[in-house]
Amino acid sequence: MELGIQPDYMKILKLDDEEVKRRFDFFELTEEDFRRLTELKSFANRCTQEITEGLYELIMNHPESRAFFPDEATLSRVKRMQNAYFLHLFSGTYDLNYVRDRLRVGAAHERIGMPPKLYLGAYRRYLALIHERLLDHFKGNEAESIKALETIRKIIFFDMALAFDTYIAAYLETMTRHQAAIRELSTPVIKVYDRILLLPIVGTVDTQRANQIMETVLVQVVEQQARVIIIDIAGVPVVDTKVADHILQTTAAVQLLGAQTVLTGISASVARTVIQLGVELTRVDTRAKLSEGIELALSIIGKKIASKKKRDPEDED
């Protein structure tokens, strides 16, 4: 996708021989249907151009769908692809490769952002066009044309189902990826010094995020055997009772593990609100600035930052 990597929809949708067979069964696609499709090959060859033209007439008459085909070159390319798609319906082999090809078509529509309403709407015209040609083809033999149309309807619905599954799978994929990215971004735990961790919190803290922060903090403290975790809330716009409560909980949990929390980045306004709200933050070690927090953390593990001793005057300059 963004990186040019196509997700393997065959795998995501668990499309193996058995699943494809189950789908054929459900769409009532039988050997007879496949035979009939193959027999219609010459019919397909004859009228594919007309059908494609008819389909794009609809598409190009509506600004919303026209927007997907900005120039003549694109248009003639997709028309070619449409012809190939149509002929493939009558190719005679209906197996995993057929399914893979259909998924590719579905994925292509999803990738260019073609909304399902246009996709489905165009299919409606497509079926109507095919119907028209079939009546013409079977001239007078209504029973046969109905059978043929029903067969084509089955395979087209089968294709549409695959395309929709691809749409949904692609959306889910994107969503999961974004969620993971956000999760990672929202709790970056930094190792400041041996056994001292820092978690800068930026942005609003809701319950879900607070829970996630607590989880990350606890796991990291144990994993890295940290003695102190500094939580910097300078980037949190509003600290209300809820946020303060979350911080207190996290602090308590860290304590249970056998480590300590230092809370930094408390501005004057935050200090004011917290006290006005009556939140008891006194059980937590707090500092205004991160640098003070780091000093405190170092002193907890028995270290301190000291100025370098002045060198002997002789060594100077």
Binding site: L218, V222, A253, L256
Partner: protein, 125 residues
């Protein structure tokens, strides 16, 4: 030796109890008795309870462990609970149970160090 299922070992001036079985109410009650009797018998000055094997701790168990620590304190023995898992800590805190007044350490090693430090300067606590 103890009568329950949780062995309580004496290492120098410190008692060490490593909990490796699921703590049901009766087990934890028996454990409390054993620990207190062991303290009375040995006069140990420190107690370490290692719960790193516990994946879940319910509120009763947490309260009993904390109370055991407080009882030990009355007998002059300092308790350190070591190795609590992140998930256990999160659950306890969400239940509103903070185990206040109980000392904790990340690992058995740290717990032992904590006890040793305390012995060096006995009047600090």
């Amino acid at each position: 030796m103890s009568s329950g299922t949780i062995p309580i070992l004496k290492i120098g001036p410190t008692l060490l109890a490593t909990i490796q079985v699921d703590l049901h109410d009766t087990v934890v009650d028996a454990f409390q008795n054993d620990v207190l009797e062991e303290i009375e018998k040995t006069g140990s000055s420190g107690l370490i309870i290692d719960i790193s094997a516990l994946e879940t701790v319910d509120s009763y168990v947490a309260r009993t462990l904390a109370n055991t620590g407080k009882m030990a304190k009355l007998m002059g023995t300092e308790t350190v609970i070591v190795g609590m898992r992140p998930a256990v800590a999160a659950t306890l805190v969400r239940m509103g149970y903070f185990m206040s007044g109980i000392r904790t350490a990340l690992s058995l090693q740290e717990g032992l160090e904590l006890q040793a430090e305390r012995l060096q300067k006995p009047e600090s606590e």
